[in-house]
C-alpha cells in the first residue's frame, strides 16, 4: 500500500507541473505588454514598471516561470486590478463558496445515486427498476442550468419556499441556516444530472456483482439478503464506482459555472466568467490554477480510495 501511495503521488508531480506551465503560458501568450494588460488602462507608468520588475519580464521566459511559481507557492498570486484586492484572498473566498455548493451536491449525488442504483439492481424487472429507468432518463436529458431555471420558477417564484438567488440574505443573513436555505435549490439542480450518472453505473455494476459466485457463496452461508447485498455485492461494486464519482466531482465543479450564474452564487465559476469579461488576467490565472489543481487532487484521492477498497490494486 505504501509503495502504491508513493508511486501514485510521484505520478501527480509531472501533471501538476504541466498544469502550472499551461496556466503560466496564459500570461506569456498575451499579445502586447502583459504588465499593462494586467493593470488595466488607467495604470500609472510607475505601477507598470514595478509590476514588470515583479514578474521578471526583463528576464528569459524560464526565469519568469521560476519567479512566478515561487510566488504562487507562497500564496502570492498578485493583485486583482479590477477588484483591488489580493487574488489569493478572492479565489480562496470564492472557491470556498463553490466547494460548499459542489460538496453539498456531492452528498446528494452519493446518497441519491448509490441508493437508487442499488434499489434498481436488487429490484430488477420490478416497478422500482422501471421508475428508476424513467427517472434517470429525465435526469440525464436535462441540462443542469435548465433544471435550475425550472427550480427558480417553481420553488422560488411560485411557491416561495426558497430564495431565488445569492448565498446570504441581505438583511440579517449569513448564518448556517440562512446559507443552507440558499443552498438547497442550486445544490439539487447541480446534483441531479450527476446522480443519474452514478445511479446508472451503480445499477449496472450491482447487476454484475449480484451474479458473481461469491454472492452465491454469501447466500449459502445463511446471511441476511440485506447483508449479502451491502457487504458482499455493493462492497465490490463500489470499487469501480469510486473513480466515476471522482470524475463526477470534476463535472460538479465545472457545472457549478452555470449554476452559479443562474443562482447568483458567489463561487469561483462566476468569478472566472467575470474576470474574463474584465480581462483581469491574474485573477483568471489564479482561479484556473486552483480549479485545475483541485481536479488533479480529487482524482488522485479517488484513485487512492479505490486502492484502499480493493486489495488487488495495491499489489499490482
Amino acid at each position: 500500500m505504501r509503495a502504491y501511495l508513493i508511486r501514485r503521488l510521484l505520478q501527480v508531480v509531472p501533471v501538476l507541473f504541466g498544469v502550472s506551465l499551461l496556466v503560466f503560458g496564459m500570461m506569456v501568450l498575451i499579445p502586447g505588454d502583459p504588465a499593462r494588460a494586467i493593470l488595466g488602462s488607467y495604470a500609472t507608468p510607475e505601477n507598470v514598471a514595478a509590476l514588470e520588475a515583479d514578474l521578471a519580464l526583463d528576464q528569459p521566459v524560464h526565469m519568469q516561470y521560476v519567479s512566478w511559481i515561487t510566488n504562487v507557492a507562497q500564496g502570492d498570486f498578485g493583485r486583482s486590478y479590477s477588484l483591488n484586492r489580493p487574488v489569493f484572498d478572492e479565489i480562496t473566498e470564492r472557491f470556498t463558496a463553490t466547494l460548499l455548493l459542489a460538496g453539498t451536491a456531492l452528498v446528494i449525488v452519493v446518497l441519491l445515486g448509490l441508493t437508487a442504483g442499488i434499489v434498481a439492481a436488487v429490484k430488477q424487472h420490478k416497478w422500482q427498476d422501471r421508475a428508476f429507468t424513467i427517472g434517470a432518463l429525465v435526469g440525464l436529458s436535462m441540462p443542469s442550468f435548465w433544471l435550475g431555471l425550472i427550480f427558480i420558477v417553481v420553488f422560488a417564484l411560485n411557491l416561495g419556499w426558497f430564495p431565488t438567488s445569492g448565498m446570504r440574505s441581505a438583511f440579517g443573513g449569513g448564518g448556517p441556516l440562512d446559507i443552507a436555505h440558499h443552498l438547497v435549490l442550486p445544490a439539487t439542480a447541480l446534483a441531479l444530472v450527476a446522480s443519474g450518472v452514478i445511479a446508472r453505473i451503480t445499477r449496472s455494476n450491482m447487476l454484475e456483482v449480484l451474479r458473481a459466485d461469491y454472492v452465491r457463496t454469501a447466500q449459502s452461508k445463511g446471511l441476511a439478503s440485506r447483508w449479502v447485498v451491502m457487504r458482499h455485492a455493493f462492497r465490490n461494486a463500489i470499487v469501480a464506482i469510486v473513480p466515476v464519482i471522482g470524475v463526477q466531482i470534476g463535472f460538479l465543479l465545472g457545472g457549478a459555472v452555470y449554476i452559479e450564474t443562474v443562482f447568483g452564487w458567489p463561487g469561483i465559476g462566476r468569478m472566472l466568467v467575470n474576470a474574463i469579461g474584465t480581462r483581469d488576467i491574474l485573477l483568471v490565472q489564479g482561479g484556473v490554477l486552483l480549479v485545475a489543481t483541485s481536479y488533479v487532487l480529487i482524482n488522485l484521492a479517488a484513485d487512492i480510495l479505490q486502492a484502499v477498497l480493493d486489495p488487488r490494486i495495491r499489489v499490482e
Binding site: 461469491y214 457463496t217 452461508k221 445463511g222 441476511a224 457487504r231 465490490n236 480493493d310 488487488r312
Partner: protein, 334 residues
Amino acid sequence: MTTDIHAGRAGDPLLAVRGLATHFTVEGEVFRAVDGVDLDVARGEAVGLVGESGSGKTVTAMSVLQLIPDPPGRIVDGSIELEGTDLVTASDLVLRDVRGNRVACVFQDPLTTLNPVLSIGEQIVEMIRRHQDLSRKAARGRARELLEAVHIPKPERRLDEFPHELSGGMRQRVVIAMALANDPELLIADEPTTALDVTVQAEILDLFIELRERLGMALLFITHDFGVISELCDRVVVMYAGKVVEEAPVDRVFEDPRHPYTRRLIDCVPALGQGARELEVIPGLPPALNRLPDGCAFAPRCDVVEEACRRGEIALRPLGDGIAARCIKPGARP
C-alpha cells in the same frame, strides 16, 4: 412420483428429495434442467452425483439450498425435506438457519467463490458468527483452527490475507474450511476439484476423504468424473438430462452398471497408469432441455437402443439391492 425404492430403506434419511422439478424460462422457452429427481442422503452417507456437464447436477444442489436465481429459474414441483422440514416451502428465516449451519456448500471454482475484497479471516469469521454466539476474537481463533484442520500452513498469517494472495488449491482449502465452520450435517461439494490442476485435484480429494473419516458428516459430492467417486462415496446417483437414470452402491456400479449411460461413463474413466491415453468419450450430445424427446432421453446416443425406447415415459425401476435404473433393457450390452 415414479418410484418407491426409497421407501424400503431403514430409518429416515437426512435429506429426502422427492419429485424435484426446477425449470428455467429463457426468452419464453422452458428448459427442464431438473425434472422429477428423487434423491436421498442418509446421515453420514457420502453420495456421488454424477453426469455430464449440463445434466442438472448444480441445479439439483442449488435447489436443495433454495439458491436458484429467480428469474430465470424456479422450483415448479417436488419437495426437499431435511429431517422432515420441507425447504421448498420453508420461510426465509428457516432457510437462513439451515444454510451454512446444517447444510454447507463448496463450489466449483475457488477463484470466484471467495469475495475478492474481504480477507480470508473476515469471510470465515462471518460464517461462524452468523450461526454461533462467539466473540470476534473467539471466532477468529476458531477460524485459525479450521485453516489448520484443512492443512493450510501458517494459518494465523493467512487469516489476514486476501483470496488473490493464495493459490487455487489453497483457496479451495479455505472454502472447505469455511464450509466446515459450523459442523454441518450435510456438506454439498459441487465439482470442488474440476477447476484445479491435476496434482492439486488429488490433494483436495484426499482432504475430502480424510475429513469425512474424521468428521463423519453426510456428503453430496457432485462430479462429472466417475473416477473420483470410487474412493470417496458410498452410493452413486447418475443424472442425465435432468433425470436420475441410475442409482447404486459404489462397488456394484463399477462392477455391473445397469444403465447404458452409466456403463459408457465408466468406460470413459482412464484405468490406472493410462492417464495419458486418449480418453473415450460418448459420441453425440445430451438433448436440448427445452425439446426433450419422447421416451428415453438417452436414446439418440444409446448403443443398445430399440424401437420401444422411444415410446412413452420410462420409469426409474428398482432392481433390488438398492439399485435402480431408468432403462427398459437394464444391463444390456451391444
